[in-house]
């Protein structure tokens, strides 16, 4: 599709700046699965084994667009300070409303699908705040479809998620529903910037 080609071109240029990070993503992905025994299941953020309240202290105000501050992750006892800038982390700022496996751990990337899977045109979108530059971005979580679930790097964040009767900001749909070729076999989720949210 035309828009996808344009995006690939843009992302290829920006990818060049992050080449070293790409290899870090790949290696971190393996380490994440091994070391933290990542559960291969939808993780509800904030439900830690110690039953700590999500979002920090009780009564803390939510800051949903500020990724990384949404509370303790079940995969990390303490979110790393730089996790908000780490694409391999569930706390990565772009993942503010993601629900699925990170395609970067599955042979793809934040904006490409793993080999042999098809990017669904239909998707849910969120607005996430990038603490790095202080801007809000529109992030599109296009699913990659056509193969069984990837099973690596599962991340579920529900900031500003809506119930499924408000579809376009709901992460509870299998958005591979919109993939006419691959249909509902869900593999992983990307997190594509599609615009500054101005």
């Amino acid at each position: 599709m035309r828009w996808f080609d344009t995006l690939t071109e843009v992302s290829a240029r920006s990818m060049a700046k992050r080449t070293s990070r790409r290899s870090v993503i790949a290696s971190l992905g393996a380490v994440l699965v091994g070391a933290s025994a990542l559960p291969l299941l939808p993780v509800a953020r904030g439900a830690t084994p110690a039953d700590q309240p999500a979002g920090g202290k009780p009564g803390a105000k939510p800051a949903p667009a500020a990724a990384g501050q949404s509370g303790a992750s079940r995969t990390d006892a303490q979110p790393k300070a730089d996790a908000v800038n780490d694409p391999a982390s569930c706390d990565y700022w772009r993942h503010c409303a993601i629900d699925g496996f990170l395609c970067g751990c599955c042979g793809g990337s934040q904006n490409t699908c793993p080999p042999g899977t098809e990017m669904s045109a239909v998707t849910w979108v969120g607005t996430c705040h990038n603490p790095g530059d202080g801007k809000d971005y529109v992030v599109s979580y296009n699913d990659c479809c056509g193969k069984s679930t990837c099973g690596r790097c599962l991340c579920n964040r529900n900031e500003r998620d809506t119930p499924i009767y408000i579809p376009f900001q709901s992460n509870d749909y299998n958005w591979c529903s919109g993939s006419s070729k691959a249909n509902i076999a869900y593999h992983c989720s990307t997190a594509r910037i599609v615009s500054v949210a101005r």
């Binding site: 599709m1 105000k61 939510p62 239909v122 599609v194």
Partner: protein, 157 residues
């Protein structure tokens, strides 16, 4: 928009249409793109393309109502003015053929008068509209038009 303003707006109430209006291109992304895809062509067999129908529908009274009353538009979190701006933006940016200069832009008042009765039969209504458009085209034999600039966005703060 400052982070502090955003946080205070969200801390006060649940609201997933953050304080302040977005530009129409961004509103399209948040409200429509998820299903209608970035350039409006949709997904064959699942989501109809808007590219071929925006101008013809907006050129008919019942078509103008349709564009407001499709639930995706009517039920969006946009204000009447923002929705009017968005529809105008879509007509000028996603249409396959440029809108004629005679095409009246949407106004907040027009949107307000129809959006509270969202359609319960979209498929049939759309099919009827397509038939009407075809009939009108057959009568008129088509017409040339030049692209007009979009009207100023009245809905932005």
């Amino acid at each position: 928009m400052s982070l502090r303003r955003l946080l205070s707006a969200i801390a006060a109430t649940f609201s997933w249409s953050a304080a302040g209006a977005y530009e129409s291109s961004v509103s399209y992304m948040l409200q429509c793109m998820g299903c209608h895809t970035p350039d409006g062509r949709g997904e064959p067999g699942r989501v109809p393309s808007v590219r071929e129908t925006l101008v013809p529908f907006a050129s008919l009274p019942e078509g103008r109502r349709f564009l407001i009353q499709v639930p995706g538009a009517a039920q969006s979190t946009l204000s009447d003015a923002e929705l009017a701006d968005l529809l105008n933006w879509m007509i000028h940016n996603l249409s396959q053929s440029p809108p004629p200069q005679t095409l009246a832009p949407y106004t907040a008042a027009e949107v307000a008068s129809y959006r509270h009765t969202p359609l319960v039969n979209v498929r049939d209504t759309r099919a009827q509209l397509l038939a009407k458009v075809a009939a009108v085209n057959a009568q008129q034999g088509g017409s040339e038009s030049t692209r007009t600039p979009p009207p100023p966005q009245a809905g932005r703060k």
